[in-house]
Symmetry: C2
Subunit: 340 residues, 2 copies
């Protein structure tokens, strides 16, 4: 049975809850739900309890927490410790814990199978600065950017987009047209993050989202979505966008452009995203395609963009990357000891 | 009391054991030793048992394993769970687990204080490819490189240095002068790693190591060491180099060159290494200084390069970075629920 881990100590904790509830509705199969609360205790949640207020009202606290140990999660009782059987987890913690490498690290360390990027790819895509490095290594174009110094004036001319470097769901993102707006946007962004970047505001830019994964040697791509217009989607809009309350708009684009985005997606994905379903957000500006950002754990795993999501996820769960087995034989210590 | 975590599921597991034993000898204070065995079970090791054969012979297996939970490590007995009191851990796991971000992730997740790079800086310095990105972001020169494709001929001309991208302690590193040597070196390197790089062999290059940390706003630098000559130090040589059996040679260099390396070290360190004692290895070639690699958890924390290591480490342990506190108020779920 597949499991879903959600929640986390993250500004996107609530988004993750909504994301998990939406995914539950989207999949026909039974799932195991593991909630990580804001204090990072784990709870197994009954499918029937999967509603937002169960968490916001703290009802889950009546449950006994479970332990993460070698091989998975274990319930603990007077009769001992019992493993919760899960073939693979979907990492659906958004933002910190889920996307900064912590859950991948915990799962790799404790030998738990999961759908989601491994540590390195998580860290690279969690940071909007390192995403630029990753894209550069992959040979994919990105929009130029400047790292903002808290105390210095930016070199870039107004207007620009200001973004905290490590947050998803558009938290702290602002379009900045003048000095007044800059001060306010800077204060807000640095409240959430220690690193903030700015990018030029691209007049007339088109935005497209493409999700996908690779199973064996074959890429499975979603439709290309053109997200709703608006200067920048705010938290509330994003929040609802994958909860099933929003209509998906397939982009009306040329076959060439679609192929171009798929090609760029594949280059990015091959930089360490094996085992994950990711969403790449692209900008098209003056006939040039740029990677905007990588969403390593997209909301509800972007199920709503795929034709046959359930089969794809089940199939992916059976071809996940495994850590290299390291056999420790104490050869060097033995050779040193015997020389003594 | 400070703790030391060592071992790990790593090709450098044995190096880590020697590293911890050497550090024990170097420090006057009492320490808590936590061993992570190759199966990733944790054990608290009595100071008197800290000898290499205690581990190689599996004597530690007579102990009961301990559990990592919120706040630290806990012994478990019929009378319940008891926390092992440690003010901060020194992360002395070399290679996988220690330097790839896993131990930092586990410690951040479970709110355990530690000396060592956080997740992002660990991941960046663990990979020789991402180290190039980090140096570039910091404005520090690196030697050019090429990522080697398993099945294609390299573009770079012989001779070059071939390195697995993710291993320390010189494992799998070779100087390659011709096609025959290339085949052998490639096979060896890909046995250990999925990514391999090559760098030009720089005739007459000088190598210098500089360790340090930042406490508050002040950098504490070690002496500059000129490591022993040899084409490339092999595993055995490196293995002994921090076990106290090797003589440290302070580099005879100009004040200018020393200042230049300290400046480059500071630029690198400020890219996320707060809380760590790292060692930067530099190349000097034709009057140009290059960062060769970053050692995020250097052997024995490079104590032998410092004047007053013990005070420095104690002082660093009291000024470690802390994760941002995220307060989850369920504001969005509550606002959605009340609108229903």
């Amino acid at each position: 049975m597949l499991g879903v881990i959600f929640g986390g100590s993250s500004y996107e904790h609530e988004i993750s809850i909504v994301s998990a509830i939406a995914l539950k509705k989207a999949l026909k199969q039974k799932l195991v739900f593991i909630f990580c609360d804001s204090a990072r205790a784990f709870y197994q949640i009954d499918e029937n309890s999967m509603r937002a207020t169960y968490f916001s009202k703290g009802e889950y606290k009546k449950l006994k927490s479970i332990a993460l140990k070698n091989g998975g999660f274990y319930t603990q009782s007077a009769f001992g410790s019992k493993k919760i059987e899960v073939s693979a987890f979907i990492n659906l913690i958004h933002g910190r814990d889920g996307e900064d490498g912590k859950i991948p690290a915990l799962f790799d360390f404790y030998d738990v199978a999961y759908i989601g990027p491994r540590i390195e790819a998580s860290v690279m895509s969690y940071s909007k600065i390192l995403t630029k490095n990753l894209a550069q290594n992959a040979g994919v174009k990105v929009v130029e950017f400047e790292k903002l110094d808290r105390n210095l004036a930016p070199k870039m001319a107004f207007p620009f987009i200001l973004k905290p470097a490590h947050l998803g769901s558009s938290i702290g993102i602002a379009t900045v047209k003048n000095q007044n707006e800059l001060e306010f946007a800077k204060d807000t962004a640095f409240e959430f993050d220690d690193e903030v970047i700015i990018e030029p505001f691209l007049e007339g830019v088109k935005e497209y989202n493409l999700a996908g994964c690779k199973i064996g040697d074959k890429f499975h791509f979603s439709i290309v979505e053109e997200p709703k217009k608006g200067e920048v989607l705010d938290f509330d809009q994003k929040y609802l966008s994958f909860s099933g309350n929003s209509e998906i708009k397939e982009a009306q684009i040329s076959a060439d452009l679609k192929a171009k985005m798929q090609e760029m997606f594949a280059k990015i994905y091959d930089c360490g995203f094996a085992g994950a379903v990711i969403r790449c957000d692209f900008f098209v500006h003056e006939n040039e395609v740029y990677l905007n950002e990588i969403n390593p754990n997209p909301g509800s795993l972007a199920y709503y963009l795929f034709d046959d999501f359930e089969n794809m996820v089940n199939s992916l769960s059976k071809s996940l990357p495994k850590e290299r087995k390291i056999d420790i034989k104490y050869k060097y210590i033995n050779s040193i000891s015997s020389n003594k």
